[in-house]
Symmetry: C2
Subunit: 208 residues, 2 copies
């Protein structure tokens, strides 16, 4: 099953490369702030970058409606009892999304810190988003996700005064699992430190 | 695979019944507070109730160590790349846990709001724990979990002033998915409203 997925992911990757599209796979626990980060990013970076979104959820079109309200192109995929997106679902999603050449496609995976880590979608980079309300030991307890990710976005820094969470310890654990992982800390709700995330996105589009 | 799991779960259920053991399957997203709830519960309810724990995580024995520090009997199961406990893992876990008759066994599942909902372990009740930091739309977006659960514990009420979360709306969504679900709101960290959880546990042991 994984071998078949890898073939389809390779084809997606080729399609994205052929159209000079940067595809980013966003993964996290439920409620870590993936959709909020995308809403804010689209409002702040359009039209500098052409952005569209593929939303993955077990049920509902709630997230697609939130993205649509920003004016961005969006497609919702419902996985039913499925716990992750796979390369075949993504292929169907990009067919109906029809993203323009030289654009950025965000893939918001099902909220799940486990299964999505195992399925290549053909993305350029994998981003794991984590909230400071989740506890700083999560990189050790869910190592597959943190090993797979190129970037860790630590969100909800505005809640740090109210929870028991050691930012440095969490980053240390993430680097223990994956020495190459990049790390950004920010707060979408408070609008804090989003510039570094935007710079990271610009660098994905145009590596210098 | 599910049919084989159901057979093994039935056997676990019989074993628990044979020893008059109440087994409770605790499920949630990563970081919703399952382990903290158990630590606090063991400290407050022992020795009134005899409590032991089976810990499920992809990796590490961190949670088992936290439970062991309370003085409770505990066994850690590591699932590796697996995203949930199954009835066979639980059967092995209870063999090494060797819980006494007329006791309560808490099964702390892998932090995942998706896959654990599909696997019967032979437990008496399923408890889903959710934190107010996760967003009030989660019952609609992960309906399998909320449909499977007998009880919803809404945790981290102490963080309510700092997040955008409507408690009544969340409970309404949960009841829309599962009209029979019981709901408790509490804060483990603040030690608030734990009594109703303890009463629910006592009622599981001795239904009146």
């Amino acid at each position: 099953m994984l071998a078949k997925n890898d073939m389809l992911a390779a084809r997606n990757r080729g399609w994205f490369e052929g159209r000079s599209i940067v595809a980013l796979n966003l993964m996290s626990s439920p409620g870590a702030g993936k959709t909020s980060l995308l809403e804010r990013t689209i409002r702040d970076l359009s039209p500098e970058l052409s952005l569209s979104v593929i939303e993955g959820d077990q049920e509902t079109v709630l997230d697609a409606e939130r993205i649509r309200a920003t004016g961005s192109r969006v497609v919702q995929i419902n996985t039913g009892s499925g716990c992750h997106l796979d390369a075949d679902m993504l292929a169907q999603g990009i067919r109906s999304l029809d993203p323009p050449a030289q654009s950025v496609v965000f893939i918001e995976n099902v909220g799940n810190l486990v299964c999505p880590a195992l399925f290549d979608l053909g993305e350029q980079s994998k981003v794991v988003i984590m909230s400071v309300t989740e506890g700083d030991d999560k990189p050790l307890k869910y190592p597959h996700m943190f090993r797979a990710a190129n970037l860790l976005v630590l969100n909800k820094l505005d809640l740090l005064p109210y929870v028991n969470f050691d930012v440095e310890r969490c980053i240390g654990y993430a680097r223990q699992i994956n020495p190459d992982i990049e790390v950004l800390t920010l707060s979408v709700t408070a609008g804090a430190d989003l510039d570094r995330w935007y710079d990271w996105l610009r660098h994905q589009v145009k590596p210098t």
